[in-house]
Symmetry: C2
Subunit: 697 residues, 2 copies
Amino acid sequence: MGYENLRHIFRPSSVAVVGASKKVEKMGYQCLKNLIEGGYEGKIYPVNPKESEILGLKCYPDVKSIPGSVDLALIVVPAKVVKDVVKRCVEKGVKGVAIISSGFSEIGNRELEEEIVKIAKEGGMPLIGPNIVGVCDTYANCNASFCQSLPYKGNIAFISQSGALAIALVGWTWIDSVGLSALASIGNMADVSFPELIEYFTEEDKNTNCICMYIEGIKKGREFMKACKNAYMRKPVVALKAGVSKRGSVATMSHTGSLAGSAEVIKAAFRQCGILEVENLQQLFDASLALSLQPPMMGENIVIITNGGGAGVCATDAAERYGIPLKDIDETLREELKKCMPEFGSPKNPVDLTGMANKEWYKSAIKTALMHKNVDGVAVLYCHTAITEPMDVANAIYDAIKESKVKKPVIVNFVGGKECTEALTWLKKNGIPSYPDPERAMYAMGTLRRYGRLLERDVEEFSSYEDVDKRRVKEIIENAGRQRLTEHEAKEIFKAYKIPVPDESVVKSEEDAVKTARELGYPVVMKVSSPDILHKSDAGCVRVNVKNDEEVRRFYKEILENAKEYSRNAEIEGILIQKMVPYGREVIIGMTRDPQFDATIMFGLGGIFVEILKDVTFRIAPVTLREALDMVKEIKGYEILKGARGEKRKDINAVAETISRISQLAIDFPEISEIDANPIFVYEKGIVAADALITLK
Amino acid sequence: MGYENLRHIFRPSSVAVVGASKKVEKMGYQCLKNLIEGGYEGKIYPVNPKESEILGLKCYPDVKSIPGSVDLALIVVPAKVVKDVVKRCVEKGVKGVAIISSGFSEIGNRELEEEIVKIAKEGGMPLIGPNIVGVCDTYANCNASFCQSLPYKGNIAFISQSGALAIALVGWTWIDSVGLSALASIGNMADVSFPELIEYFTEEDKNTNCICMYIEGIKKGREFMKACKNAYMRKPVVALKAGVSKRGSVATMSHTGSLAGSAEVIKAAFRQCGILEVENLQQLFDASLALSLQPPMMGENIVIITNGGGAGVCATDAAERYGIPLKDIDETLREELKKCMPEFGSPKNPVDLTGMANKEWYKSAIKTALMHKNVDGVAVLYCHTAITEPMDVANAIYDAIKESKVKKPVIVNFVGGKECTEALTWLKKNGIPSYPDPERAMYAMGTLRRYGRLLERDVEEFSSYEDVDKRRVKEIIENAGRQRLTEHEAKEIFKAYKIPVPDESVVKSEEDAVKTARELGYPVVMKVSSPDILHKSDAGCVRVNVKNDEEVRRFYKEILENAKEYSRNAEIEGILIQKMVPYGREVIIGMTRDPQFDATIMFGLGGIFVEILKDVTFRIAPVTLREALDMVKEIKGYEILKGARGEKRKDINAVAETISRISQLAIDFPEISEIDANPIFVYEKGIVAADALITLK
């Protein structure tokens, strides 16, 4: 389904409201009324066989009886009638349908929903919904929804998976002057879902500068990521994932019936595909507003200009919290700034113009800072005083930006009462994101910096390792004929993917054991080789530091005896004899398959780091070398790998390469359901995967 | 200075405005005007020798020429005149002064400030300021400040260390309907400071339900803590400590000249004295509003009632973030709630009345939940829909609470536009804390729970250990005659305080070394005993696991040689021979003296926990056994002490007792400036302090 067709849904030339009604309490009345009152200028066709006219418009008994062509059919009829309506829409050649009606998969009625989607798809007609509040486009004045008004106009496209929240947030856009270009409620996502909408708003909708999403659960995780990756370089993408808490994720499932992946996996996916994640509704709108109005912050130097020390301190604390700690200001700039303040002002960062600050000082200080080469963004704070009026400061800010002629982000915070609120509204109307709390302003600036960092990072596609031996892996998997591979089989697969493992072999007799041990060289490790004995140590089936022939013979017997005692029916392949590798710093790499995002890679340090501190990180496979390095660097245990406490630096590149290779293995072999390399020993040079577990589907 | 006198400042019978002016741009004009326009009903006396009448009031040349008595003198004259004015105030018998004038210690003019305070103190006259915006009492209609209006009326007493912020926040109280009983700007805190104000608002001001503070730096930390400890059991105390970031703390210092203790120490002090800390201005007011209007939440069972699944999920996530995760609802309650919703509603927590929810359902659901014995608090969420009007829901909430007749907290969130804002304002006016964002509502509820937990905890005074030998400690300190004690001296002090140390002695000859080693029993540890060699290992002056007489002799020589080589002039007391104690889990206990809070205790696990994870926690001494246990439990490494990964549980009580005893040592001996017990070995039973460092002032 191409996203191009979606313009018929958001910016239709004509809309049929199927299920329009004269009864005020009916949704079919509300929707028609909203469309008319929103000032929509295209043709509106109410459809209802029982009426001849509604709200002054001629009413049609059927979509097909409408004389002209129909771009969008807004469907508000009971669930059981929807299928028939959609069929007629296809026959009529309607270009897109939005189904407000509920009573489908959200209450278990999945079959009916699938039938309807099939009809629409065969008719080449995109379908949004069902179970939505509708769609709005503030530039087309098209309120095809039961939101009582269009959202406040602006440049944010808002996609909401919750209908009730979408309606309520339209009210919020008005009181907080958060401008939307479009609103899409996507309900059950039976056909059109996040990927198509993200693509549409990126490629087609020139009024959209920022894509903003309220997400409860994601279907088609890979397509979602692809759409975001394509979008974010051109338009920032912001998302709130609701249901991240234990209890919240349960509530989400019962709410939309969507199977949410684990919060960690979704967070990893967001990071990888360039989504700016936020934590709550206020941050969602605060961040989107800033991103829709201002350029990203391309550098780390932010300057805060304030007339109140207290607000300056609060903003400074917040800046550090949001990843943009203040730096010292250049001496040259300090000298210039001194001219914009009284004697007792401070040209240090935060720059304090003092309570005496008037509009001229504000204007010259802002302009001076913006035009200085070592400044990447400016936050302007103002505490309401009797000295200067809020609107004067607002004008000073506007003029300073205009006259500076540079493209650097400016964020504003005014603390005060009604006059401040008015000035903030004016500023937002004039393209300057403004907030009543220094914390929120700095959060917004932090987001502009996060976006800047995203744009700075190199876009790197995963390039497969060519030196891997896929045929060998295939062979091992086929020969195994079991769901769980033995340690040795798993290690053979690693070897085929050029992941270092200890020299080892499986033997079936005492004599071979001794021979192999001698070949490998003492000391060796001996373990039972059995797909049925998972916890070999617990079963008494592991012996380390085996030093000579005699020990090999003794342990050979012991291990077999213990294995039989542990599990009478275990299939025992033999004894695995391993060259004993030196002990190194332990790390763990794991792979599982998420229902929405498929192969997901986990990385962490072994021991207390993973067991007690849960110090692990995730990515969706494949993981490029650069991303793998990020993984290593973002865990707390990185300090250890870097060489803390007198230890030498470990081979971090080798760890990253191993992560990347294991991620490729997961992509190349969808039949592998789980990989667990634990522990991997990391040395000053190189790594060795000391143990490995692979499970097939 | 008794806090009782402060009522003359906040609720005076008469106010003299010294420095009143006819010139509109002067503060002396503003302040007089504000007082009149605020509706103050006591007597107002403008004082200015150059005028006979200002703003319709008879003007006096001098405080002393005022015919009646004067409760409060509000001083707005230039700094250089203030001293004289204060002198005259004392002579007149003025009951309290508030000095708005600036130009004192904040610009280095400390001497003048001290002189003025001395005069006021000798006159028994409390002095607030200088360098403030003034004080307000909304019940006395007394706006003795240059805030252009009184704050919105309510039950929060707000103490602000930032003047500009205080004025601006008065505007905020109006737009957000955050009701204040009083506002105190405290500026340089030359005389009246946090402790007196906290006491006054706790003991004297019946209109105050909650004390709320914006703090940049604290003087007299111990008095501050004492005042808060006395306050919080009766009235909740909320504080925002600004300047907690690295850069922010620098900004704070240059702003108020206050020497801020480290953020960690202040946080510890807050926790210990019952302060509810918040992170930003919005939280400061959101938390205070809830605490001023609602009872604390006494139990862990919160129920969320919503008409929108999305808002419910957001609130559920937030609840977990703020320490009040949702629990399952009782089956009995679920059955009752089912009667308050349509068939497709959900009686699970969050309770979803669905978009069809009307006011009756809201009312009965809230009432039902509130009256159920297993519910400790209710959060009501509402997304604006066409089905029910916000004001109807607001009324339903109000009625439900009234009819339920229980004292359990209720918090409200409405998401929507103007009508919602109006309903929220009405709710706040009627005693129900209400917020436009589910996140903020749950934060407020989380604060009510935090306060509930504070009230639940036993109040426990520190009771000194009687079995300690203070005389012995005194003797060691006096005999040392040095700033840095040797390890052995430090351990002798520990011993006197019943903190276990290894058996050890200092010897001065090879023969004695052998004799002592035999007595202690092999193996032993040998270290140089010198106050001048701090890093003994680095100096090659430590030998562990010394096994026999011969080794003792050899190492005796070696250590002395190495010591001399390391530092030619080091004073060498002899060789310390220690019984080698078994290795246990390492912890660290430290003591330093904070400039504001004095003796501060640090606790953490040794090794990577302290070095890489900075996993440490602080308390102000003395530390009770219960607090010490809290310290142990709040570090991440607690899992290890509890016995993770197959290890047995360590003797946590012994660790707590050691913390408590070291804290007493710090209190008993102010001449000790630093204690460092690192490492302390913790066993399944008992501990041993393997090394100790004590420094004197």
